[in-house]
Amino acid sequence: MKGILKIAFKLLVNDKGKYAALLVGITFAVFLMVQMTSIFFGILLKSSSTVINVGAQVWVMDPAVNNVANSIPLPDYVLDAVRSINGVKYAVPLYSGGALVKLRSGVFQSVTVMGLDDNSLFGRPELIEGKIEDIYAENAFVVVQDEEIRKLGNPHLGTDFELNDHRGVIVGIAKVAASGLFGIPTLYTTYSRAIQYIPSTRFTISYILVEPKSNDAILHIQEQVRLLGYQALTQEELMQKIANYYKYQTGLGTNILIMTAVSFLVGLSISGQTFYTFILENLEKFGALKAIGAKGRELVYMILFQATFTSLVGYGLGIGLCTLVIAIAKLRIPDYSANITYSTLAFAFVMVLIIAGISSYIGIRKVLKIEPFDIFRG
């Protein structure tokens, strides 16, 4: 079998023009599919950045909330009610809202302000400069050092700014696991300062963050919160809800899906057609091999090997090209949201196998039909 596959390999790679055309088709199909899906996953990851960064196990919110940026304020009694549920170790409020800050330069800049529970500072980020207790100081804010910090003029400890006629001072610089989707800087402060500085609605709690006594208690907490007319979701459930919103309610998912399908079809048609031409050009040779004594299944193995080998090489090149493009894009555009995940790779791999399968099916049908008698007839 090894010898047959070596013949198949030489037939394939020694026809440099066809082989290159096959590789180009599959490489670009993989590149486009992975690029599209990684952008999609990048967007989904960034859209859930707050959930990831805060890291609470259970989030309580209004059932109508469909993404973390658009919270619906909760009445204060809900916090008390949640705290009284059996199985709740503790529950704290979280403020999440948008504001405009005026920099020393006079420039206005939108920011996201996260107001952490004054007592526990639950959900606080990891500081790389400054001390977290300084957040209790007058006008204190912690800024997140991500791609957006330059929009605040790259502040350092002590840099001040104006927020809704209040003075703000940077007392800490923090890092977070994931940066946000909308390309605006993030400031952390205490819950009480956040609602004092930022014009608010009657209710001010964006989310209630719950730490259950055990994982077994989560279902009970969710049920009790539901009876209150609100919704309690685990971190994973909330991320899934946000993902579903972007997938199904914004058109983003549909567009990405269409582009991915188009990429697949383009790759399939280029490589399928090229492979078919390759088989047609070698049909007489396959017929001669059959006349000499090759069995049908040996010719099938040869074609499957050729299709699989080409697909795997094209897959590797496509992934490499995609990684390179994303790396270059991230150098130039820090906000560029693309995230190659194992599921993206697996998805592209399955699609490539389908391309290989369909391409080889066309070839196999043709080769199995050729009769050695036709070789004699010329």
Partner: protein, 231 residues
């Protein structure tokens, strides 16, 4: 003497009803080890169809083909492929060499199909290329060889698995007279032996002198079998 090939009342037709056309009908003959047996006749006389049936490529509608006393059309399809691989060597009219492989790799194909080790197959192929006088061209692709050289590569490929039956389809059709004769001299002196039967289908009367026997066909039927000059 045991015949190498025994064909009995072979018939092959294509189409059915009013469209039924006989390519070969009621053909019976025997060819023996150690002889060069020519099948000649005009185009459409059924030579190629007959050759295909006796070499295990085309199943006859009726009749029996026995090669070395084995009724080949009673074998399973895989066994027929094995039969072709082990017992029959083909030299096709257009040679059908694989342009993407070297000359040596082309010759080694039957051995590779027999699951020989790659390197050992190439070694053996080089030995046969030496026999056909192409020792110094083993690494070249077939397209870099002349027509006569390609013919010899095809012969080496047919010989490499040491078949009992060697089949040449119009071996001199694309060669000039001198080259054709040189090839036939080589076939007669170096390839033919007591354990081998060579069947040659040809139009080319210039090479009839190499035949031990000549079977003439017309309209799918045998019109005569005569002794050749080579006998």
């Amino acid at each position: 003497m045991n015949p190498a090939i025994s064909a009995s009342e072979l018939a092959k037709w294509f189409g059915e009803g009013d469209l039924k056309t006989y390519a070969v009908r009621d053909v019976s003959f025997e060819a023996y080890f150690g002889e060069i047996f020519f099948i000649v006749g005009p185009s459409g006389s059924g030579k190629t169809t007959l050759l295909s049936m006796i070499s295990g490529i085309l199943r006859p509608n009726s009749g029996v083909v026995a090669v070395d006393n084995v009724d080949i059309w009673k074998l399973e399809s895989d066994q027929i492929a094995e039969f072709r691989l082990n017992k029959v060597g083909f030299v096709f009219q257009d040679y059908h060499l694989v342009p993407r492989l070297t000359t040596a790799e082309n010759v080694a194909i039957p051995l590779i199909l027999k699951k020989w080790d790659w390197d050992k197959s190439i070694q053996e192929a080089m030995h046969y290329l030496e026999i056909v006088g192409l020792k110094n061209k083993v690494e070249l692709p077939p397209m870099k060889l002349s027509g006569g050289e390609q013919q010899r590569v095809a012969i080496a490929r047919a010989l490499v698995s040491q078949p009992d039956i060697l089949i040449f389809d119009e071996p001199t059709a694309s060669l000039d007279g001198d080259t054709g004769r040189r090839i036939m001299d080589f076939v007669k002196t170096s390839i033919l032996n007591d354990r081998r039967c060579i069947l040659i289908v040809t139009h080319d009367s210039r090479i009839f002198e190499y035949a031990d026997r000549i079977m003439r066909m017309e309209d799918g039927k045998i019109v005569g079998i005569e002794k050749g000059v080579g006998h």
